[in-house]
């Protein structure tokens, strides 16, 4: 196979919907989600994989979408913050973030929610240290870590999500 430049056609399943698009090979999954697919819930921030604002679930696992080329995701399944709730409302986790006052400026919250969602899917009853470790890749400059942790705990205690 020879190397391909510029634009390549790819297929993604984003929040359950199949999308066939053409992407620039040097554009990241973050670029494509936001600019080509209009899913602006996923945030761009540090662009070096430290802050977690761009966290999405790629084939069942959280990744920093700023560190994934869109072409790498060809054929794979992606869940963004827009896909966390089954219907138009909020998931229990999202509601718990509001109830516990975990949201101040809100910029980091989509990434926090995606990481917390994945954490609870793997480990439905995490301890506080497990929550802290599970969310260590999501920074909150408003300093709402306690409230975020409380929201995850409250959801874990609830009957299902």
């Amino acid at each position: 196979m020879s190397a391909s430049a510029a634009m390549l056609p790819i297929e993604l399943t984003v929040n359950g919907q199949r999308r066939a698009i053409e992407v620039a090979v040097h554009h990241t999954l973050l670029d494509v989600l936001r600019d080509d697919l209009g899913l602006t819930g996923t945030k761009e921030c540090c662009l070096v994989g430290e802050c977690g604002a761009c966290t999405v679930i790629l084939d069942g696992r959280t990744v920093d979408s700023c560190l994934v080329l869109a072409v790498e995701a060809d054929g794979l399944e992606i869940t963004t913050v827009e896909g966390l709730a089954a219907d138009q409302g909020l998931s229990l986790l999202q509601q718990a973030f509001l109830d516990k006052g975990a949201v101040q400026c809100g910029f980091c919250i989509p990434g926090q929610l995606v990481s917390a969602h994945a954490l609870l899917a793997d480990n439905p009853h995490p301890t506080v240290p497990e929550i802290q470790e599970g969310l260590a890749g999501n920074l909150c400059r408003c300093g709402c870590y306690q409230q975020i942790s409380d929201a995850v705990l409250a959801t874990a205690d609830g009957a299902g999500r």
Partner: protein, 286 residues
């Protein structure tokens, strides 16, 4: 990010041919947690990026083969940290894999990439040195196995030849029972690069292997075969000079912003002594 040609071979031979043809103008892409950052900041400007994740031989796998645990090049840190055999037989490697970056990074970053990137601060390197791992590389001239101590040169530089691709890391199951542990020092808990990253292993023959990184241009291995360090009853006056000899190759840079050379040298000894105690305890519990 500048543009480049993107190749996604499905056969290892294609990848080797591409890499051989393009040489330093090509970069391999596995997890991308280092490469994408460098593509974006312009410190790497390859003409061709070769994505190795769709090559059958590079798929994630941890398997036992001929007295070794073989970790396929596509295997990510999360898989190693969670693998029962790795945790049982090579606990220090599983521990190191569990502290690389964050969950998001560990879900993407591969062991092979950590090794090939050859960062002096690579957290898995000290454990691989202690366990005597081998890097399996396939190139135009065939397959060769490179002892990990002969693989690292300096940051970003390894002894891989043009056209060679790492397909796996092999860890020989220790012939004698070993107690081992990985420890590190970071500025903050959670997601940070190590100011010192260190692994110590002690076996039933009294051999102590101690390896450390982030204190010089490449990770370093020191070995004590005298049995003194492994003996909890040995007097400190005897232990001291032998312990100190393990650290002669530490040469931390004054330019790193994470910690001063003095701090790293001091913490190297603190972590070394701590890891030695834990390794001895773990050996006793086996």
């Amino acid at each position: 990010m500048h543009t480049f040609a993107y190749a996604r071979p499905t056969e290892l031979a294609e990848a080797v041919a591409l890499l051989e043809a393009h040489g330093p103008d090509a970069r391999l892409l596995a997890g991308g947690t280092d490469l994408i950052i460098r593509l974006r900041d312009g410190s790497a400007r390859p003409g061709v990026v070769i994505d190795v994740k769709r090559i059958a031989e590079m798929r994630p796998s941890i398997r036992e083969e001929a007295g070794c645990l073989v970790i396929g090049a596509g295997t990510v840190m999360s898989d190693i940290a969670a693998d029962d055999r790795a945790r049982r037989v090579f606990p220090a490697l599983a521990e190191a894999a569990a502290v690389v970056g964050s969950v998001q990074i560990r879900n993407r970053a591969t062991l092979a990439g950590n090794v090939c990137n050859a960062s002096p601060a690579a957290d898995t390197a000290p454990a691989l040195l202690v366990y005597g791992a081998r890097v399996v590389a396939v190139g135009p001239a065939g397959t060769r196995r490179i002892p990990i101590d002969g693989f690292f040169v300096r940051s970003g530089v390894t002894t891989l030849a043009r056209g060679e691709i790492v397909t796996a890391i092999e860890l020989p199951v220790p012939e004698r029972a070993m107690g081992a542990v990985h420890v590190r020092r970071t500025r903050r808990r959670g997601h940070d690069l190590a100011s010192v990253t260190l692994c110590c292993g002690v076996d039933t023959a009294g051999v102590t292997r101690l390896a450390y990184g982030s204190v010089g241009p490449r990770p370093v291995l020191g070995v004590d075969e005298s049995g003194v360090l492994a003996d909890p009853a040995a007097p400190d006056a005897v232990k001291g000079p032998i312990f100190e000899r393990l650290f002669v190759d530490a040469s931390p840079s004054a330019r790193s912003m994470r910690a001063s050379p003095e701090y790293r040298q001091a913490m190297l000894r603190v972590l070394g002594a701590r890891a030695l105690r834990v390794a001895i305890d773990r050996l006793a519990q086996r």
